[in-house]
């Protein structure tokens, strides 16, 4: 059984960002099997807690549970709308409050939505470098959906469906190939003091 976390920074209701996140999650679960646990983390309801975390230095409210879901996941799907030629500020705030190392070695599928295809490089110029910094393993295919990629009624047309399938397949392959139990607990797996003293 794998755990998949889906972080979506869409703001409207309904949200094309959330729609793309769900399509990616469904396509990944189809590859990994029906016992896959999917946790969807909508960032809009966390906006207040995220701002507070910046002011106080610690996560509170609903935020710790959301962070734990992402930090304990075997794979991550991260989807943001494009704001001012990059990921949204809300999207970045969430990844700013993760503990360093929380995503180390974690397979991540990056995806973004925008009104126009002219923003599509946000995947490779903004999202990919951020996840590289976080030492995540970003799958080769990123998924970008502009307005023109959505058919009427939110159905997926043409190339977008193909990219979703390809990206989900790449994520599923990395997730299923990972050893279980990647996390260490700094309070349980304490580094012996003699080691600290002599390091």
């Amino acid at each position: 059984m794998s755990r998949l976390a889906v972080v979506t920074a869409g703001l409207s209701e309904p949200s094309s960002t959330r729609l793309l996140a769900d399509l990616l999650a469904d396509a990944t679960v189809a590859q990994l099997g029906p016992d896959t646990v999917v946790d969807v983390i909508e960032l809009r309801p966390l906006a207040h807690d995220l701002a507070n975390a910046f002011a106080t230095g610690f996560p509170a409210g609903e935020l710790p549970a959301a962070i734990e879901k992402v930090a304990s996941a075997d794979g991550l799907i991260a989807v943001t709308p494009v704001f001012s030629a990059s990921y949204s500020g809300l999207f970045k705030m969430f990844f700013d409050v993760l503990d360093s190392g929380a995503l180390e070695g974690v397979p991540v599928l990056v995806a973004a939505t925008a009104g126009t295809a002219r923003h599509s490089l946000v995947l490779d110029h903004a999202m990919r470098p951020m996840f590289s910094y976080l030492k995540a393993v970003v799958v080769p295919t990123g998924v970008f959906a502009a307005s023109e990629d959505w058919g009427s009624g939110g159905s997926v047309v043409g190339e977008l469906a193909t990219r979703i399938e390809r990206a989900a397949g790449q994520l599923a392959a990395l997730v299923s190939g990972r050893p279980a139990g990647r996390r260490t607990d700094p309070f349980e797996d304490v580094v012996d003091f003699e080691t600290l003293l002599n390091s």
Partner: protein, 367 residues
């Protein structure tokens, strides 16, 4: 059990009237606060150490010695002594001198400090904060226990046949706490030496403090200093008290909303739910404080932050009167709940615990 106050020593504008004390006023006020703490029956006054505005306590032993001369009973301590950027030789000398001047009525708490620019001013690098804390303290520990120290490390010029003077009073090194907000390594360090561990507590949720103290207690027992329940634990706390809780909330809110550390973020109500901050009546502070032991176990020292965020001196002194009442009520309640084999107080100069043999003298650090 010891109760007291700890001060950051911030020079903050009062958000309700725009008044900012001068450095001179703040330093004199700090002395008055310490004297008031003794007058209302508190056991400990601790000052921070900072080397940048808007803080005033850059020379803590000077201030503590001055307070020591004007008081007779209250124990003087730090919150914290910067073990990273302060030469451990100077800490050994300064605090041993203080120990002699106040006849042992002191201890101190090690901390790293978290402000990047301060480190290079003292020739250090914040990215080495943890190794600095570990190496510097290992040296300090030896300087107070050995004469003619030969030492070589990564961060300080070597010592050859060095004797730190004055020697600790009666051969008893001051008791040391290690303070930390979020580093398990510091809890491990405190446990290794059998020193006290102080959880800041006030800037993070209780669940985090519980894990830090749990780690310290477990490792304290692992290193053979006693049972986990006997480990020496201190906690921070923060309160604003008025007879009537609505008055407390109304009066404290502007200071909370504009506080340098957490202002402009969560509401007062959110923050009091998430952290130990209690704004209310004496009874509310009593009940909240008694609740701390439910997640950290029976502990030995409780310090409150009372004089920050631009609160006027008059208000702070009134707060200390009320805190004195709170503590008077807390003392018997804490002791009634404490098992017989768990010490009430941390080791003090001349107390039996302070004479315990030093088992965990670390090997010389080699780079």
């Amino acid at each position: 059990m010891e109760f007291g106050i700890f001060t950051v020593g911030d020079l903050t504008t009062d958000p309700t009237n725009g008044a900012t004390p001068t450095e001179h006023e703040r330093i004199r006020n700090t002395v008055a606060i310490a004297r008031k703490a003794e007058e209302v029956g508190l056991d400990v006054f601790a000052t921070g150490q900072h080397h940048n505005p808007p803080f005033i306590p850059s020379a803590p032993t000077t201030t503590l010695a001055y307070i020591g001369a004007q008081t007779s009973r209250i124990k003087l301590s730090t919150s914290t002594t910067l073990i990273t950027t302060t030469d451990p030789v100077r800490i050994a000398e300064d605090y041993a001198t203080l120990q002699h001047l106040v006849d042992g009525r002191m201890d101190l708490m090690m901390g790293r400090g978290n402000t990047g620019p301060v480190y290079p001013w003292f020739g250090k690098d914040i990215r080495q904060g943890l190794p600095l804390a570990i190496e510097h303290y290992a040296l300090l520990h030896r300087l107070w226990r050995e004469e003619n120290v030969d030492w070589q490390g990564r961060f300080r010029t070597p010592l050859q046949g060095f004797t730190s003077v004055p020697r600790p009073l009666d051969g008893n090194p001051p008791f040391v706490w290690h303070g930390s907000i979020r580093s398990p390594e510091i809890a491990e360090q405190a446990a290794y030496y059998g020193d006290g561990f102080f959880a800041n507590h006030i800037f993070w949720p209780a669940s985090h403090t519980e894990r830090m103290i749990g780690l310290y207690r477990r490792r304290f027992e692992h290193y053979g200093h006693g049972t986990a329940a006997q480990a020496i634990v201190g906690l921070g706390g923060q309160a604003f008290i008025r007879r009537n809780s609505q008055d407390a909330v109304r009066e404290f809110r502007p200071y909370f909303d504009n506080a340098p550390v957490y202002g402009h973020g969560p509401s007062l109500e959110e923050f009091t739910a998430q952290t130990p901050l209690t704004v209310g009546s004496p009874q509310q502070v009593i009940e909240r404080t008694l609740g701390f032991r439910e997640y950290v176990g029976d502990y030995q020292r409780q310090l409150f932050l009372m004089d920050h965020a631009g609160l006027p001196q008059k208000t702070v002194l009134e707060q200390l009167d009320l805190l004195g009442e709170v503590v008077e009520s807390l003392r018997p309640q804490f002791e009634a709940l404490r098992p017989a084999d768990v010490p009430s107080d941390p080791p003090a100069h001349g107390s039996p615990l302070s004479a315990a043999p030093v088992e965990a003298a670390p090997a010389e650090v080699r780079s």
